[in-house]
């Protein structure tokens, strides 16, 4: 079973997305802040990291940047998908510069979300 780490601070979003992912047959770990996500990444390996950029304590961009610069951390995750409410092109460019594999702007279609996850984990 493929494992996903879902990092998102909004409890409703987390519950909904993890429900959809579990329904698709993926194993899902959930965290609501960046520090906790970092801890999870140090301890476990994941096939996909779904990361919201607007996190408390350690922001999503910082976590991405740490992963870019730290090989050990980078090896813990095969693919990264960024989700954000920010529609700015700069943020998107920055995310791809930091090796994000996919980028999804909220609000998005659940069909698109599931399809993109499936494609990344193919």
């Amino acid at each position: 079973m493929k494992n996903i780490l879902l990092v998102e601070d909004n409890k409703v979003t987390v519950t909904m997305l993890s429900f959809l992912l579990k329904k698709e047959g993926y194993g899902v770990d959930v965290t609501t802040d960046g520090e906790e996500a970092l801890k999870n990444l140090k301890e476990n390996t994941y096939d996909l990291l779904i990361l919201d950029l607007g996190l408390p304590s350690l922001r999503g961009e910082e976590l991405l940047s740490m992963m870019t610069n730290n090989q050990n951390l980078k090896d813990q995750v095969l693919k990264t998908m960024v989700i954000t409410s920010n529609i700015g092109e700069e943020t998107m460019e920055q995310a791809f510069d930091m090796n994000a594999d996919d980028y999804l702007v909220k609000p998005f279609s659940p069909v698109e979300f599931v399809a993109r996850v499936k494609r990344l984990l193919k």
Partner: protein
């Protein structure tokens, strides 16, 4: 006055001495005890309310999300016919019961779903809100005497696009209220939900709008699909309120109503500098055949450095290679670094090769050229 004070104080001391000391002590202790009981009572009540809210939040998060996911989102993903996706109203009602906190938390959760997902899912979410009759509670809030409740109700009704004659009647009454923020919310509701004639709406704006309010109207109008877009230049004249002029000028630029250009030129003669600067900026987004010539003429008339700079920037956006000699002249002739920079930036916008061919006269011009070349320095 002073002697009166001493006389009063003396009387109090006398009363104090005459009064039974034990009684006084007992009274003080009783008052303190009562105060303490009151404090504990309020702490208890607040903690109880908070606990109820926390519990309501927990229940809604744990129970509602799976139901919505299972009954709405999964069928939607599996491309089930939208008419066959039914709102799980009874199940949800059984969770919410008659609890106010659960109801409020449920509405917040629906709004959250609305913010995560787009498209057809949102229509189902809205249908759940309506099928459960939650709009009735928001409408009740609209009739409250408290402005805060009115605003929260309006926001909710606007979010779920609920409209009825009763609401329209009430908001017509509320429009007469003095609270600016309330009137602002009413206007957002009118634009977003009632989809009224834009002519009537803009005519109805009589108050000075904040930048935020203006931006909101601009976004609502430009993101909606109005069948009839009015000619916004009809409101670009000196008799109108300045913030309304700016909103209409911005909308003219968005809808590319080139006739607004003449109205703006007329207004530039009379308006104040801050408005003038904003209008010049807008002018730079409306291209007409004679725009460049008019701007060059304006450059010699405008006195302030900021004004001249805005004219040059506008020329950079609407000008062609024919305007490069003028900009180059300004760049070399002006003694003001800010103006030099604006002229050079406009040259860069029109023709990058022409920019690279420029030979600087002195150290300052070289610095400005380097500045424009550097993509990390924001202009």
């Amino acid at each position: 006055m002073k002697s009166n004070f001493y006389a009063d104080a003396f009387n109090w001391v006398e009363i104090f001495v005459l009064f039974n000391w034990d009684m006084l002590q007992a009274l003080i202790v009783a008052v303190l005890l009562l105060g303490l009981i009151m404090v504990y009572y309020f702490i208890f009540i607040f903690r109880r309310i908070n606990r109820s809210k926390e519990h309501a939040k927990f229940v809604i998060e744990e129970q509602v999300t799976p139901i919505i996911a299972e009954r709405i989102i999964i069928p939607y993903i599996n491309k089930v016919d939208p008419n066959k996706i039914t709102s799980p109203v009874e199940e949800l009602k059984a969770i919410i019961k008659k609890s106010r906190y659960r109801r409020e938390e449920f509405v917040r959760t629906l709004i959250n779903f609305h913010n995560i997902f787009d498209g057809g899912v949102n229509e189902h979410i809205r249908q759940i809100y309506l099928d459960m009759g939650l709009n009735a509670f928001a409408e009740k809030g609209l009739f409250s005497r408290k402005v805060k409740k009115n605003i929260l109700a309006l926001n909710e009704l606007e979010f779920f696009k609920v409209k009825s004659h009763r609401i329209v009647k009430r908001i017509t009454q509320l429009q007469r209220k003095k609270k600016e923020i309330l009137r602002e919310c009413i206007n957002f509701y009118i634009l977003n939900v009632l989809e009224i004639n834009l002519d009537n709406f803009i005519n109805s704006i009589q108050h000075p709008m904040s930048q935020w309010e203006r931006l909101q109207y601009y976004m609502i109008i430009t993101n909606s699909h109005y069948p009839n877009i009015p000619n916004f230049s009809q409101w670009i004249h000196a008799e109108e309120e300045p913030s309304k002029i700016l909103l209409c000028a911005e909308l003219s630029a968005h809808y590319y109503q080139v006739e607004a250009s003449d109205a703006i030129y007329q207004l530039l003669r009379t308006s104040t500098l801050p408005i003038k600067l904003k209008l010049l900026n807008i002018l730079g987004r409306i291209y007409t055949d004679d725009q460049a010539e008019k701007l060059k003429e304006l450059y010699s008339i405008v006195k302030s450095v900021d004004g001249k700079s805005e004219v040059l920037k506008a020329l950079g956006r609407t000008g062609t290679i024919n305007d490069l000699p003028f900009l180059l002249d300004v760049f070399h002739a002006s003694e003001n670094g800010f103006i030099k920079k604006s002229a050079l930036r406009s040259i860069y916008s029109i023709d990058v090769d022409a920019f690279h061919a420029i030979q600087p006269n002195g150290e300052i011009e070289q610095i400005i050229i380097n500045h424009i070349k550097n993509p990390l320095l924001k202009y």
